[in-house]
């Protein structure tokens, strides 16, 4: 059973510069990763026989508000070793873009579509990035903190 420090140092040694920091206040403890190195680090985390993070439990997009940035949070879990790990990736708010991990965990296919739908984060390399919960022609991304709903949708009043 490895603790967070060991996992972090393995990643740091393997990918110098990929780890930007850690957040010990989160549960499970989180590591900040550089967004362009995310897929290779994730693939390593999944395949390495010391960690074997074979399950992506959850993927959350977060908007930190108009003056701040956007984040994507990945909750990894390793079934054989019972390890937990939270990965955080930050991205700018003007053109939010994070590489897709859907080739590594297929769970991400729909979770990334959901984050795209509700927050407008563009996951590069995603094979089928469409809206999932809202209709295709909906305007705006509701979970952004500065979201303004449209007046009418196909003649139906949106505000009630």
């Amino acid at each position: 059973m490895m603790d967070f420090g060991e996992i972090k140092s393995i990643v740091e040694n393997k990918f110098p510069g990929a780890v930007l920091g850690e957040d010990i206040n989160s549960t499970p403890t989180a590591v900040y990763l550089k967004s362009d190195q995310l897929p290779e680090v994730c693939e390593f985390l999944r395949d390495d026989d010391r960690m074997y993070f074979d399950m992506l439990s959850c993927l959350t997009g977060i908007d930190n508000g108009p003056e701040s940035n956007m984040e994507v949070v990945y909750n990894l879990y390793s079934i054989p070793f019972d390890h937990h790990l939270m990965i955080k990736v930050e991205t700018g708010r003007d053109k939010p873009e994070v590489p897709s991990v859907s080739a590594i965990w297929k769970t991400a296919l729909w979770h990334e579509r959901e984050a795209y739908d509700l927050l407008g984060i563009n996951f590069t390399g995603h094979p089928d990035l469409r809206r999932i919960l809202l209709p295709e022609d909906w305007e705006g991304h509701p979970l952004r903190k500065d979201y303004k709903e449209m007046e009418n949708y196909h003649g139906i009043q949106v505000k009630y």
Binding site: D23, N25, S26, T27, P28, A30, D54, M55, L56, S57, C58, T60, I62, D63, V73, N75, I79, D82, H84, M86, K88, W105, K106, T107, L109, W110, H111, L118, R130, R131, I132, L133, L134, P135, E136, D137, P142, L143, N152, H154, G155, I156, Q157, K159, Y160
Partner: protein
């Protein structure tokens, strides 16, 4: 706000059924078949855009969102405790389990999870397991209905009614309870509940045998479900599938054991897994059989809970389930991921608390049905249309949770 809420224009109706596949690009002999969103065998408002070649399914594209009620947006605008009724409405077949998961997360964020009295925890597990049986009953009953067995549905609805009445007795609502509160419970169990629940447990045990004989071991049912929709374990894990579907694929993985939350470590129960008894490991029959066996295990847990609730942690005059309700629910700034075993799989909640308000900054629900549905296109390529219905039924979807 204007008084006119809808203005009619024929153009508004043109985009009512968006499709991914273009009819122009289909091969000869292929056609688009739209199943749902008002089709009974999609178990709710799910629309399956199906490309068929004769009777063979070439591709399936699920379209969701018809029941989207903005759970996450709502959760960002109201205090933690007021979100509990919304959590009920996600998986409305297993509201107690969802409440338990949500409440557990908030309690751990506040750091009060060790203050909760044992009696409260046992009551939580008791009602959650009752609800788990009810949820599995609906799953098994409607699955039988989907593939042509009508009687088992009536049987399980009859037995589920007893559970609904028991749970109604605790909190006044039949399906959407708002019973488990942060730091305690809405109310102690009503006087006489434990005895009635014991009666129910005695009543249900033989009924489970009858149900297994009538439906699960029925030759027609076996023929329709064995070797259909086989889900290999590696694919299931990579897709994040959890719950009875993952266990049906042969992995003994249950968060009640793995995470050992609440009082589950003090209880004795087994985790049934699919063995491929009637066909191949991970087929529709295995998944249904796992649900059936889980009902028995839940009944075992209920018996043990009742024993504790009438023994070590029995009702006392001055027991107050609201004694430990926090006056102010304001967790310190943190990110928190909590997960629990729902009847349909791993229900997770991701919270971001900013430490300054009673309202979560972000609350994401990792809905098990949502993730479980995503496997459908892979399972159903190349099967017959009738088998597609059998596969959808075996996934046990609740669209309230898929769409949130």
């Amino acid at each position: 706000m204007s008084t006119v809420q809808y203005t009619y224009d024929p153009a508004h109706l043109t985009r009512s059924e968006p499709v991914v596949h273009d009819p122009e690009n289909l091969k000869t002999g292929e056609m688009i078949l739209n199943i749902g969103p008002q089709h009974p065998s999609t178990h709710g408002v799910l629309r399956l855009e199906t490309i068929t070649d004769g009777e063979i399914v070439v591709d399936v594209v699920p379209h969701l969102g018809y029941l989207h009620r903005c759970f996450e947006k709502h959760a960002e605008s109201m205090p933690y405790n007021q979100t509990i009724p919304y959590v009920d409405r996600m998986d409305y077949m297993a509201a107690m389990n969802s409440e338990h998961a949500y409440v557990m997360g908030v309690e751990r964020m506040l750091g009060i999870q060790d203050d909760i009295p044992k009696r409260v925890e046992y009551i939580r597990v008791l009602v959650a397991e009752l609800n788990r049986i009810a949820s599995h009953f609906v799953a098994i009953g409607t699955y039988g209905l989907d593939i042509g067995a009508f009687t088992p549905f009536l049987w399980v609805m009859r037995d589920r009614e007893h559970i609904m009445r028991l749970l109604e007795w605790t909190c006044g609502a039949r399906m959407l309870y708002n019973y488990i509160w942060i730091g305690g419970l809405f109310y102690d169990l009503p006087v006489g509940f434990e005895e009635r629940c014991m009666d129910f447990s005695r009543y249900l045990k033989p009924k489970l045998d009858y149900l297994e004989q009538l439906l699960i071991e029925n030759k027609i049912f076996v023929d329709r479900t064995a070797d259909i929709g086989i889900l290999p374990l590696a694919l299931a894990i990579n897709n994040g599938i959890t719950g009875p579907i993952l266990r049906g694929s042969g992995l003994r993985f249950d968060l009640r054991k793995v995470d050992a939350y609440s009082v589950y470590p003090e209880l004795d129960f087994d985790i049934p897994i699919g063995t491929g008894k009637m066909g191949t490991v991970g087929d529709c029959w295995d998944r249904t059989w796992v649900r059936m066996q889980e009902c028995r295990e839940s009944l075992k847990i209920i018996d043990q809970c009742l024993e504790k609730l009438t023994g070590d942690h029995k009702r006392t005059r001055n027991f107050d389930p609201r004694a430990f309700l926090p006056k102010k629910i304001r967790p310190k700034a943190q990110d928190f991921y909590v997960r629990a075993e729902n009847p349909k799989g791993e229900l997770g909640f991701f919270f971001r608390a900013d430490g300054r308000s009673d309202i979560p900054f972000r609350c994401k629900a990792r809905a098990c049905s949502f993730v479980n549905l995503s496997i459908l296109p892979e399972l159903s390529r190349g099967v017959m249309i009738a088998d597609l219905i059998a596969i959808v039924g075996s996934l046990d979807l609740v669209l309230g949770e898929v769409d949130r």
